[in-house]
Amino acid sequence: MSFAKTKHAVEEGDTVIIYVNPQAMYAIQVKPLIATKKGDMVENIFQTAYGALKVQELVGKKFGHKVQFSRGWGYLLHPTPELWTLNLLHRTQILYTPDISLIVMQLDLKAGSIVVESGTGSGSLSHAIIRAIAPTGHLHTFDFHQQRVEIVTKEFIDHGLETFVTAKQRDACKDGFDLEDTADAVFLDLPNPWLAISHAVKALKNSGGRICTFSPCIEQTQKTCEALVAKGFKCIETMECLQREFQVKNITLPDVDDYNFSFSQTTDKDSEGNGKKEGRKFRALLPALQMAGHTGYLTFATWPRQSSVQI
């Protein structure tokens, strides 16, 4: 519920984010009972490293404030597509915020846009698209895997987003989208996106639109670009983006004899003339030692206004 509208306090049925630290965050749906593996309904108690949390007690609690566990506390956060991306259950490899943000901007998405997406996957990008196009736009999302469609449909309903999205099972490459002259933008995250280009053209508005394909491999990207050129797309651009994260640390380097040296003839004493040892202190911006180096190549192109369209 709380995806669709900003709330100050939790209501039953809301999906909320429990934040303990950057590596420990959890998405929880607030309901009194939860099903066990066997299918029995038990009291919904969520376990964390700092103790248990009775989920139903979250009702009425304010977002942005602390929540108590039996042996500690965390913060209760309002869900956003970014937090959802970090905490959703992976049914497939997902897209992360850097790629998602670039896709939303480069497809010119805004309130009122009609978007076609295939494949839906785990719904990571879908949530960000819906945020951009609501309340007047619509997302048509397709996946050829029946179970994935069912799971994501339930999530959209749980999150109060069902009016903005239609999720269907469909093999986009074989059967297309069954949409004509409808979409402002088409997004393809498929193993063989070049096979869906004609279907994308049919779905796009004759007054013009944008297309994006995401492919981990350069061979896929090459084939896709050839298909886009052949079909008549313009402004074809391929790009990639990554995030570099930094830690901020106060570093102290003690003045150690190991590094005391000079070619000129001086005494053992330092330049100040006293024998005092002083360390060097500074605030350092430390990049992570390991970072994500590649997710995929994003190819964008414009479907130009067709000459059949009268202005």
Partner: protein, 388 residues
């Protein structure tokens, strides 16, 4: 309410191949407006009333030295298609770069331009007068023709400005005019600040020409509120103007002079019945904003070279669990802000990041990352406000 015609007083982007420029058409109808596209003079007002799209530079037959006029065109011909029947070579073994391959001199080309030859005709002349063109490889020929088209192509695109184009345009013209806010970093800001319709957002623009404010207004299409938070009267609004927003699209934009906000908050606190002397009103727009309250915003974006300590103050405007993004072209000020926020327990999920971005050339047998790349696009400190 999508205006797809080129109108008076509106901004357009004029693009020839990879060169782009931003122009505003004159307010008055009937006034001619000549612009420079590369080395050519073009009468932009000849495109008035037509839909955005591809136009051909068309010469006035009587007076060849006048500016080109613009004629809608669907028949763009690529030089590589036109000249594809010419011979090509295997490699550059016999090609010597002595600057003497082209037999036409600068003056000869100028004469051809003066005679009224079209761009395609000039390029054809250059090819015919090149001693090496037909021994170049096919790929080399394509590259040569592409380069010539950049200068001589007789087709231009007249584009309706959108955030994607404007972000790229402003960043490529002079990055520090928008604090080096590269388009992909702008895209991250839009996500991390949780920009959505029917939300309440605040933007403190310390030198980005209104790019972020315009991007938010464009995204929300009239649904919600965007507070333009300012201290001084220098209004950042060039990009907002260039977007040709309609009144409905501009409706969410409200100006809030922070000094006035402080006064009105003090007034409420003291319950003063006394008339407080009106604070010096710096006029930006005709808006008389409803008072902006602490803890009311869903998202906050701060863009400036010196975020300390204003960012910490502005976060007070954010509701608990609200998202903030602080952008700075330099990393050192953000280190201080990061440490400050940490020590005061103002936020969770605090991240200091930089976006890395690269374009690729994808052509058959010629696929590789582009040779030039952006070295930096600014730094972002993002987080979620909490009440500890």
């Amino acid at each position: 309410m999508d205006v797809n015609l080129i109108l008076n007083d509106h901004f357009v982007l004029v693009q020839r191949k990879s060169q782009m420029s931003l122009h505003q058409l004159p307010k008055k109808e009937g006034k001619q407006w000549t612009i420079k596209v590369g080395r050519d003079l073009v009468d932009l007002s000849s495109a008035l009333g037509k839909p955005h799209g591809t136009f051909k530079l068309s010469r006035n037959e009587e007076n060849k030295s006048k500016a080109f006029s613009l004629v809608p065109s669907n028949d763009v011909v690529e030089m590589k298609e036109k000249l594809k029947d010419l011979n090509s070579g295997e490699n550059n073994k016999e090609i010597w770069d002595d600057g003497k391959s082209q037999q036409l001199k600068k003056e000869d080309i100028e004469e051809l331009r003066g005679q009224g030859l079209t761009g395609s005709e000039i390029v054809t002349q250059l090819v015919e007068n090149s001693k090496t063109f037909q021994i170049k490889t096919e790929f080399s020929q394509e590259k040569y023709l592409s380069k010539k088209e950049e200068k001589y192509s007789e087709w231009v695109e007249i584009l309706k400005p959108n955030i994607r184009h404007l972000a790229k345009y402003f960043h490529s013209q002079d990055p520090m005019q928008i604090l080096n806010l590269r388009p992909d970093t702008l895209a991250m800001i839009m996500s991390l600040a949780n920009i959505k319709s029917n939300g309440k957002f605040g933007v403190f623009d310390g030198g980005c020409q209104g790019l972020v404010t315009a991007a938010i207004l464009d995204r929300i299409q009239g649904f919600g509120t965007v507070w333009n938070l300012c201290l001084k009267g220098i209004s950042q609004k060039r990009v907002i103007q260039a977007m040709n927003f309609s009144p409905e699209q501009l409706k969410p934009l409200k100006n809030a002079n922070l000094h006035k906000v402080k006064e009105s908050l003090k007034k409420e606190e003291n319950g003063d019945g006394d008339e407080v002397p009106a604070a010096k009103i710096i006029k930006l727009d005709e808006d008389a904003p409803q008072p902006l309250e602490l803890g009311s915003l869903d998202g906050l974006v701060v863009l400036c070279r010196r975020p300390n300590a204003i960012a910490k103050e502005l976060v007070k405007l954010l509701a608990p669990s609200g998202n903030f993004v602080i952008f700075c072209p330099y990393s050192e000020p953000l280190c201080e802000t990061y440490t400050d926020f940490r020590e005061c327990n103002l936020a969770v999920n605090l991240k200091l990041t930089e976006a890395w971005f690269r374009l690729h050339q994808v052509l058959p047998l010629r696929t590789h990352p582009e040779v030039n790349m952006s070295g930096s696009g600014g730094y972002i400190l993002s987080g979620i406000k909490v009440v500890s």
